[in-house]
Amino acid sequence: MALDKPYLDVPGTTIFDAEQSRKGYWLNQFCMSLMKADNRERFKANERAYLDEWDMNEEQKLAVMARDLNWCIRTGGNIYFLAKIGATDGKSFQQMAGSMTGMTEEEYRNMMVAGGRSANGNRVVGEDGDAQAHRQPQGRAGQTAKA
């Protein structure tokens, strides 16, 4: 029998369920290793060599090296684990979250100060809110892409 997953039609959102967790096990465990200062140093010194110590697939390694968090999430990453990469890079949670929207750091920060992203139009895939697939990337990057 199919499992109940009512969250699959939420736009711009990947729910980290048991299936994602299984896909991302080694990617996320690699991230955990960055909680040790020695490992952070070794990773920074040679990212590829450090990643090759882990049983991750090639796509996961490329996604990490590209620091593309949306890509990391598609391959099974979870944001609380991926945050260890951002921490290693000296990035704040806001910088990491913003990076997934296509907005610049300033644009994202301004959106939050202005009250954040509205749920309107962003509850179900197929509406017209700013988190919907057809409106990516957001911010000036999106305007440039359309021009």
Partner: protein
Amino acid sequence: MAHISASVYTSHVPAIGAALDLGKTAEPYWQSVFKGYDFSKQWLKDNPPDVVFLVYNDHATAFSLDIIPTFAIGTAPQFQPADEGWGPRPVPMVQGHPELASHIAQSVIQQDFDLTIVNKMDVDHGLTVPLSLMCGQPKAWPCPVIPFAVNVVQYPVPSGRRCFELGRAIRKAINSFDADLNVQIWGTGGMSHQLQGPRAGLINKEFDNAFLDKLINDPEAAANIPHIDYVREAGSEGIELVMWLIARGAMDDVAKTAPGQARAPLNMRHRFYHVPASNTAVGHLILENPSH
């Protein structure tokens, strides 16, 4: 006999900890967050608990993907603030209360909630940021703390209803402890926020304020909110709000009573809401039991 005198609810945004630790509290951006806790710090000094039972979630810190407990109770004498990747927060060691914690574990498991018992774990911002918000920056935390970690990282997380019923079981457990201890229960996390994907930055003031109203006045209805409503309305990480229901379920006014027996309403001492702290809507409540 031990008893719960009050419950405290607060967000536990990591950037709040960073703002405190880096001395940014005077900046206008952070002033508008911290001013919501001025009352609370004084209230805590005026109403010092013997123990805080602190419900929070671990953010891939003590629990990796190797072991994912749904409900974990810390029974150790001490808990070290964790290095989450930025280095450990410069905050005091957390002192536990092993006797009360193991008593609660035994009682709650006998009430059919299968807790994981943890004798060794580091505690992350989910636990230390609420302590900082309520206590400021003391050399030592004012009382022992029992960490109670809830899985809200990997779906499915426990339902709001189950969390609420667990709160009821925790109340019974605390009330059956022989020593005369004044216990506060804190529920942390939320409110609306989403940290991932193109929908990152979602905030829903209407949902959050309706949730606060319900939590205070109609907690049974709050307990019935299904997961998908949190995800759609409050963002994928807004699901953390189920943890508030554990604290709310432990209050006297919702304890099961004999038919015809009425419970006195609780006292709301403080309510605060602010957007944003980093990516998140900050919510905060203090509710006291009437007998207090």
